[in-house]
């Protein structure tokens, strides 16, 4: 005893980030003031401290129209005519600049989003660069993609894509949207989330550094109304949206009867199934990664733990012990495991659903965990005694809240796992190979992680079944979202 094993603070310096007081919109290669009055500009804050980081313009319908016009001009005059090999080189340039400015991007992402620097530095930004690098290589190989015309010619792009991304992985979601769109020859108008616009605006600067032709990428900041104006714009050919299922449905309704194509990457309530022969310590790591990665602000989070009854007590004891070691606090501290909740609104939602969980009869547990006085915080939390009817077992909490259910037989596990309108992801933990393949086949989910969780790669397609949306992002299949694929007859 007597040896102090606590960690000293190890904050990453934020001096690498050069924030401006206010930001405009990025349209036709330039930063411009929006049409909206100054009063319509909104503030983006650091959710860990509630400090105002910058003021950002809110794009109105006229701004969106200007951005779409710029994108259309760039599509017709430049980008769709450029050989794929040349488009590729622009995307390679962007990938390289992202690598060069990686630390700056990581710090800025953690400041604006609240996620731990070790995640933005080791996951988000490297995967962003990898995504551009991967799709860059497709730009001049589309005739070999499997989506070529019947005469073997390169498939055609769609035109102008309107893209709307969420706040949980701001720059990564931008990469998932922009890299394949540009590789296929489309131009884009992208709206980042209102609480996390800053890395998208820094990306606009990166486009300037890369000498990307004006209008190929346009960034319009704003909230829901800006997004609606973009989706409703008559001159876009494609809507790509990542966000809530409710908004995804509204988008599907609003583009009904048009020729606009859509990919929707929406909510989830993933089951993470642990069988009695699973490697328990690995499973505990996977459960923790599955639900506490990025504060649980992950659409594919493993938010429903389904554990076989015979090992439930043992597993829960190990899980609680592990959760007690999670370090919550300053997102810029290199030892932080759990950062800040992204917004007051989201914190209220997590609190509300957790309270409902208790009032419906589930038992709530969190490790002792001191929350900072400023900012938005929620401790890692698990609920036991959860039934399938409980709202915390059915609704997406989008926070560090795990619902624990038990099962006896594999078929019961599969039935419970599939008992949800969502179908984005799932996990399965067992040492038995044949069981993995059987269960993976039976799960109605677009991504199944077996003996691992929350792994992402540019080459690997991602997207949901059922009400988790449609279309895939990433991989060869991710190209289909940005190409005219219907060749020949119907």
């Amino acid at each position: 005893m007597g040896i102090d094993l606590t960690y000293a603070p190890a904050p990453e310096s934020r001096s690498i980030v050069d924030l401006k007081a206010s930001y405009g919109l990025f349209i036709d290669g330039e930063f411009v003031d929006g049409h909206g009055s100054d009063s319509s500009a909104f503030k983006t804050i650091n959710p860990a401290t509630e400090e105002v980081l910058a003021e950002v313009a809110e794009a109105d319908a006229a701004d969106v129209d200007a951005a779409v016009k710029a994108a259309r001009r760039a599509y017709q005059r430049v980008w769709s005519r450029m050989p794929g090999s040349e488009r590729a080189k622009y995307l390679y340039r962007i990938a390289r600049i992202i690598q060069e400015r990686g630390r700056e991007l990581a710090v800025l992402e953690s400041l604006d989003n609240g996620k731990p620097i070790k995640e933005s530095r080791d996951v988000d930004i490297p995967v962003v660069a990898a995504h551009f690098f991967y799709y860059a290589g497709w730009a001049d190989k589309l005739e070999f993609s499997g989506y070529a015309g019947s005469d073997g010619s390169a498939p055609r792009p769609l035109g102008v894509a309107g893209q709307i991304i969420p706040w949980n992985f701001p720059l990564l979601m931008l990469a998932w949207k922009i890299a394949p769109a540009l590789a296929c020859g489309n131009t884009v108008v992208l709206k980042p989330a209102e609480t996390t616009p800053l890395t998208a605006l820094l990306f606009a600067e990166i486009c300037q550094q890369a000498d990307l032709p004006p209008g190929v990428v346009n960034i319009v900041t704003g909230a829901g109304e800006t997004g609606q104006a973009l989706v409703a714009h008559p001159d876009i050919d494609k809507v790509a949206f990542t966000g809530s299922t409710a908004v995804g449905k509204a988008i599907a309704r609003s583009i009904a009867g048009t020729d606009k194509k859509a990919t929707l990457e929406l909510g989830g309530k993933a089951a993470n199934i642990v069988f009695d022969d699973a490697p328990l310590d690995q499973a505990v790591e996977g459960i923790v990664n599955g639900i506490f990665f990025n504060q649980g602000h992950v659409c594919c989070a493993g938010s429903r733990l389904l554990v076989q009854e015979s090992i439930a007590d043992d597993l829960l004891e190990r899980l609680k012990r592990r959760m007690s070691t999670l370090r919550l606090g300053d997102p810029l501290d290199k030892n932080t495991d759990i950062g800040a909740i992204n917004s007051a609104e989201q914190l209220a939602r997590i609190r509300e659903l957790s309270e409902i969980g208790e009032s419906e009869g589930a038992e709530r547990w969190s490790p002792s965990c001191e929350l900072p006085a400023q900012g938005f915080w929620f401790p890692p939390t698990l609920f036991t005694g959860v039934t399938q009817a409980h709202r915390i077992a059915r609704e997406e909490v989008f926070g560090p809240v795990l619902s624990v259910l038990t099962f006896r037989t594999p078929s019961e596990a599969i039935e419970k796992a599939n008992n949800t309108p969502y179908g984005l992801s799932a996990g399965v933990w067992t040492e038995k190979g044949s069981r993995i393949l059987h269960v993976a086949g039976a799960l109605k989910a677009g991504v199944v992680w077996a003996n691992t969780f929350n792994k992402f790669d540019p080459t690997s397609p991602f997207g949901g079944f059922k009400e988790s949306g449609y279309g895939r992002e990433g991989g060869r299949q991710g190209l289909a979202a940005y190409l005219k694929t219907e060749q020949g007859g119907r």
């Binding site: 449905k249 599907a252 009904a256 993976a440 691992t452 690997s460 009400e467 060869r476 694929t485 007859g489």
Partner: protein, 290 residues
């Protein structure tokens, strides 16, 4: 001696492998291409549509769980039996579409050939649209197509057999089950097709056929929360109705194949999208190591 009075057929619905009349008790007059009475077909109701969805859902697990080789053989056998029933189909096509014998034979040829073409896809589509992914880490990573689930199909109004086969075969070959609303004015080849399915090896419930009005039945299918996808080609050119159906389909984010402005040329070679629009890509990860 008087000519023999022939025995006419009752044209019924096909749900869950059985041939019920509409629970509504309604039927409607079907005329031939020249306007002469041919039969009273069952007029499917909302309840019939719901029963059909239940039957399709019940059949989904077993049908999607069959081996691809088996589904290929089952569909190929449908083609065999259609060939066997050539005179009946030719007559039905002449009656419904007003075709000459030669053209009716050609339409049947095309429908049978289309079925054979799709049958062969059962154990190949996974190889063509799925793939391994070389992720940057020690993981096995594989993406494969899986059926979406229950698909509502509004069959084309004009091409009563070739069009029908061209929308049903691609949906079921991948393991989906379907609820089909036939052409309203030309439903009889579809009923005959259902009779072929019933006497082939296609399990009951895999294909469910409703005769009647798409405008009446389709809104219930489009809004049904246990239908995963819908093909709107049967309301081609009816922009307003098609839009309403697409809006209703968003309630549970059905995969939608939109209605074209006019009925497509069904003799053209189909695209892969006919199948891939109703499959889901599933990606499985597993660590590699000793």
């Amino acid at each position: 001696m008087a000519a023999r009075i022939d025995v006419r057929k009752t044209y019924k619905l096909y749900i869950g492998g059985a041939f019920p009349r509409s629970e509504s008790g309604y039927s409607y007059i079907v005329n031939d291409a020249k306007g002469r009475f041919v039969a009273n077909a069952a007029l499917a109701s909302r309840k019939d549509a719901r029963d059909a969805v239940v039957a399709a859902r019940k059949a989904f697990g077993s049908w999607s769980g069959r081996t691809a080789y088996n589904r290929a053989q089952v569909l190929y056998r449908v083609a065999e039996i259609m060939e066997d029933r050539r005179p009946q189909f030719v007559q039905a096509l002449q009656q419904s579409e007003g075709l000459t014998a030669a053209r009716a034979n050609a339409a049947l040829d095309a429908a049978i050939d289309r079925l054979v073409w799709y049958a062969g896809w059962a154990d190949k589509l996974t190889q063509v649209v799925g793939n391994a992914n070389p992720v940057a880490g020690p993981f096995f990573n594989l993406s494969t197509p899986e059926p979406t689930g229950v698909v509502a199909v509004l069959a084309p109004q004009e091409s009563s057999l070739l069009g029908l086969v061209s929308v049903v075969a691609p949906a079921i070959v991948t393991g989906n089950t379907v609820v089909v609303v036939s052409s309203f004015d030309r439903p009889l080849p579809a009923v005959t097709f259902a009779e072929v399915l019933a006497t082939s090896d296609v399990p009951g419930g895999v294909v469910n056929l409703l005769t009647g009005s798409a405008a009446t039945i389709a809104p219930w299918l489009a809004a049904h929360m246990d239908v995963n996808a819908i093909d709107l080609v049967g309301v081609a050119g009816e922009q307003e109705l098609a839009t309403e159906l697409e809006v209703a389909a968003a309630d549970n984010l059905k995969r939608v194949r939109r209605a074209p402005g006019a009925e497509p040329d069904w003799t053209a070679s189909p695209s892969l999208d006919t199948m891939t629009d109703f499959v889901e890509i599933k990606t499985v990860w597993h660590p590699m190591g000793v």
